[in-house]
Amino acid sequence: MQIWSWHGFFTYLGSPYIFRGALITVYMTAVSMVMGFLLGLLIAVMKRSQRRLLSWPARFYVWFFRGTPLLVQLVVIYTGLPKLDIRLSVLACSIIGLTLNEAAYLAEIIRAGLNAVPTGQIAAARALGLSERQIAWRIAFPQAFRLIIPPLGNSVNGLLKTTSVTSVISMEELMQRSQILVQDQFMVLELFSVAALYYLLMTTAWDFLQRRIEHYAERPYRRQQKTAAVEAIEFPATTQDAR
């Protein structure tokens, strides 16, 4: 048996089966991240509440989901729900597990962001008569979001790879499909290299996207403010969003 087969490597690299596995990984990451962010936002706000009726459940949630392995959470969801007569697809179970787990970490990131919004900005909004809800949506969240883009980027990057844990409940994402093909010709190194390359591609694409988001969010904070015309040439999409 040869040490490394280029032929095998390129065959797997071009395999639609593996490619679709990567697409599933991207899909799971995107959906879990968005839903996890929304749930995390709710938990962060609850945890910051003065009322124990709100803050304690939030604290319990974060404690529980950060304190147990994702692998265990996935298995419990996958095997537990059918016993309650709730039948969901493997994909649904995977996304639920990833979302619940990610929300606990995102809640802490979001909380840090909200804590970092200067109190003077909140006082000024109050003095203008804005309600607490208006202050949250118009002042606190937008300012906090800008601050937490770098750690959120970490989370997306991490989640892209963490999705591979769902292979334990037989979710056919990139990693699981690579392992399935290993059974075929035992080209472990070639297959895992292909998988690694896919992960690198996906994280690189995210890096690029994150830079665009950061650029957009930092716009109000650049001292050298470009005219709208220059922005339109350099960043056509983001400038239109801003209008």
């Binding site: 006082a123 000024a124 109050r126 003095a127 804005l130 300012q143 109000p220 904070y221």
Partner: protein
Amino acid sequence: MITLDTVTKSYGAFQVLKGCSAEIGRGEVVVVCGPSGSGKSTLIKCINALETFESGQIYVDGMAVRSANTDHSALRAKAGMVFQSFELFSHLSILDNIMLAPRLVQKRGKEELREHAETLLRRVGLEQHADKYPIALSGGQQQRAAIARALAMKPDVMLFDEPTSALDPEMVQEVLQVMMELAREGMTMMCVTHEMGFARQVATRILFVDAGEIVDDCPAADFFAGRCSARAQAFLRFEEAHPS
């Protein structure tokens, strides 16, 4: 316009306000002065309920501030506030800063509001900076924008909490100018400041606060002629000797 009735406030064992009472009429320009830590900022923040107080009462245009059913939004629409550190919303353009609260709180129409905002910006000399973000403006410009933002709510009274203390000396005047103009137009104003020059020129009355008490409450002319408490006179001598 504003009635302070034995307002009392403590931070734990420390009593910041020890029963402050005063009456401010429409069109008056009242300067609140006194040493640092005397409670003057706390007092002015009680008026628009940014600070709570334990006993006593404040009325703004007949509206009780400390009550279970106080409509804070309505109260704050009556009393505009300008802060020491400007506090323009850093993620919004100057124009959006001005239009945000009238749009959300008063539900005013976009067209009318835009016109009003542009008028206000011209008034404070910032019409060319409407689309910039706060960071691109100097401190003096930011404070003038903050004044315009407060005025956009069409308040009955303007509260200033050390509006020039965070400014470089050369920018103090441009802000004071805007405030003087406002006073001349008949706006009811209450201003915490160390700018004794401003107090001399525009104040109708002085409240001298020391250690949580309103020690002097007298016409500005009397105050600066020395017809005030010994404590106020000592404070005044110090301020004149060390102009900020």
